[in-house]
């Protein structure tokens, strides 16, 4: 009995791999089907599905960038404290002190690239008409993912806590003042009042909910940090799973007719 045969017949191996080695066509398919990571990809792909000039691989690149952002983001969390005292200093330390602080640059440029690729992915899907039935629901999921990608960018923008970040979020969040009904400068906020008291004020409108304060401050920093690192990524992961699942269920990746 050779070593490899011994390993393959051991209980440890067989508890992990429930199939023989991929010697034949069937087991090559079974390997993919019974592996959690491999089963995300179909066993067989139609030739048109890998036509790069058609798909641009933009969805795949976006997903790759999401994984890269997740990896580098988790690493950055080890060296970043979302407080007024440390936020800016920690980002500077990543540049000046920490070995391989380039993780932060990878994270930043990857974020820029992800916004670009997600737009290009959407553009491709639009040009090829891949949003048409039966894929119209997946288009909606994709739109949600686009919005969440932009929100990830927006919340991540504040975390370096430099002047650019503070004022960008100040300006950006000012738009929430004009939210209809829910912004204290928006149309119709007067309708939401009880007994002559406005429910929507500077300290109770959508902007206040977003910032956690009247102005961008430490509460905003903590709020954006949690949104950026925990809340949005969880939702994005769920929607990505649904997105991929629907790609498979709606007839596979769209391809030239």
């Amino acid at each position: 009995m050779s070593v490899s045969e011994y390993i393959r017949k051991s209980q440890l191996w067989r508890s992990v791999f429930r199939h023989p080695a991929p010697y034949d066509r069937r087991n090559r398919a079974v390997v993919v089907l019974t592996n959690f990571f491999l089963h995300l990809h179909p066993v067989s792909v139609q030739k048109g599905g890998i036509a790069l000039s058609y798909t641009w691989c933009m969805g795949g690149i976006t997903f790759f960038l999401f994984l890269a952002e997740t990896l580098t983001g988790v690493l950055l969390m080890f060296y970043y404290r979302p407080t007024l005292e440390w936020a800016f200093t920690d980002i500077r330390a990543l540049r000046d002190v920490n070995t391989l602080g380039i993780m932060r640059e990878i994270h930043r440029w990857g974020a820029h690239a992800m916004v670009i690729t997600v737009w290009l992915h959407m553009y491709r899907v639009f040009l090829t008409g891949s949003y048409k039935p039966p894929r119209e629901f997946n288009w909606v999921i994709g739109v949600l993912l686009l919005v969440l990608t932009l929100l990830l960018s927006f919340t991540g923008y504040l975390l370096p806590w430099d002047q650019l970040a503070i004022w960008a979020i100040t300006v950006g969040s000012n738009m929430a003042r004009a939210t209809p009904f829910l912004g204290h400068e928006g149309p119709g906020f007067q309708l939401l009042n009880v007994g002559g008291y406005d429910l929507i004020t500077q300290a109770s409108d959508a902007r206040f909910l977003l910032l956690g304060a009247r102005t961008v401050g430490e509460e905003t920093l903590n709020r954006f940090y949690i949104m950026h690192c925990v809340a949005i990524p969880i939702v994005v992961s769920l929607l990505i799973a649904i997105h991929f699942w629907r790609v498979r269920k709606d007839g596979g990746i769209s391809q030239p007719l």
Binding site: L75, N98, T99, L100
Partner: protein
């Protein structure tokens, strides 16, 4: 193999070929023999029509291909067989399809003419046709004689194409199968001719081919891709490990000055640096009689709590589990297994006492004798 029902197609073909060859040989040896395969001519056409065709006539090569060929020949080279004025056709009007076919075959076989007399039976017609086709029968030969004389030639040239010369027809196959079913031991076909031998592979692998194989394997996109992916993954793993080792810690330095020796009167324990640096500064002569100033780490040797100096009881008492230590640091009660540890202490150049927490001195190991662990007040 002996079970007749399990004959394969190849065996059936082989049996049929063999029977055909035997019958050919038999007829060439005995041309006048009239076995049941060639029934005698009958006078009554009605009888000939009602008579079933001979069950196993090897010389009945009436295949579809042949019929078609005959029809084409008749159409292309001769006027329709039904026309009485045909010079090569019999003068009498053909009566049946068989006769027409026979005439057509006769015309095709370039025989001078078909039998002048009207054919009497199907067998006659066929025999005449074969004779005419084979080109061996004379036009005046009676049909029955032509049947016998032309049989070998007809049998040998029965298929319309030279390529199918040895192909047995269906009736021969059926006859072979029947013979097999009747209990006769089936004659097994001869083994197929041996295939041309392929060039033998070299038993030994030459060194050149082995190296070439390894190089080819290593340069294959599969290997290159996996190596590249493994290298990138390894680089990232190492990079992440390095990234997690901080280059900067926000901790106080291990060396710090605690003041001149005069700040620590004899027989006292200073808790001034307990909270900030975790060190007691002790001035006592109880350990070995010398007047020493030393630093004790405020970490209980039981489980790491911070003992308190109880001035009234002159002992360190740990609040967690009640371990007690003398002013010297020697443990005397409670679960603590060994004395408190000393840290490094020296008098710096400026006269200040300097504690070095990076140094540890354990009494049970005899390290308290190290002069780095105390300052002798004099």
């Amino acid at each position: 193999m002996t079970e007749p029902k399990k004959l394969t197609t190849a065996e059936i073909l082989a049996l049929a070929r063999q029977k055909k060859a035997e019958s050919d040989a038999a007829q060439s040896n005995e041309p006048s023999a009239s076995p049941p395969e060639s029934p005698p001519a009958q006078d009554s056409p009605v009888a000939s029509e009602s008579a079933a065709p001979p069950p196993s006539p090897p010389q009945t090569p009436k295949t579809t291909a042949e019929i078609l060929a005959a029809a084409r020949a008749a159409k292309g080279t001769t006027p329709p067989a039904s026309t009485p004025a045909t010079p090569t056709a019999p003068a009498s009007t053909p009566k049946s399809t068989a006769e027409i076919l026979a005439a057509a075959r006769a015309a095709k076989g370039s025989a001078p003419a078909a039998p002048a007399e009207q054919p009497k039976s199907t067998a006659d017609i066929l025999a005449a046709a074969r004779a005419a086709k084979g080109g061996t029968a004379t036009p005046s030969t009676p049909a029955s004689e032509a049947s016998a004389a032309g049989a070998p030639a007809a049998a040998s040239s029965a298929p319309s194409s030279e390529a199918f010369k040895d192909r047995p027809d269906i009736k021969e196959m059926v006859a072979a199968v029947k013979a097999a079913h009747e209990g006769k031991p089936p004659v097994l076909p001869k083994p197929a001719p041996a295939l041309p031998k392929l060039p033998e592979k070299d038993k030994g692998v030459s060194r050149r081919s082995a190296i070439q194989g390894i190089v080819t394997l290593l340069m294959s996109p599969f290997i290159v891709a996996w190596v590249a992916m493994g290298a990138i993954a390894g680089a990232w793993t190492l990079g992440i490990a390095r990234f997690m080792m901080p280059n900067m810690v926000l901790e106080l330095p291990s060396k710090f000055k605690v003041g001149p020796p005069s700040d620590f009167p004899p027989g006292t324990v200073s808790e001034k640096f307990k909270a900030s640096r975790g060190v007691y500064i002790v001035h006592s002569s109880q350990y070995d009689g010398r007047d020493l100033i030393y630093g004790l780490l405020s970490v209980c040797t039981h489980l790491g709590c911070t003992p308190n100096w109880l001035e009234g009881e002159q002992k360190f008492k740990c609040p967690c589990h009640g371990s007690g230590f003398y002013i010297t640091g020697i443990n005397f009660e409670g679960p603590a297994p060994r004395p408190l540890e000393r840290v490094g202490l020296r008098r710096a150049e400026d006269g200040m006492l300097e504690v070095d927490k990076s140094l540890k001195f354990q009494e049970e190991l005899g390290q308290w004798a190290d002069p780095k662990s105390y300052y002798v007040n004099s």
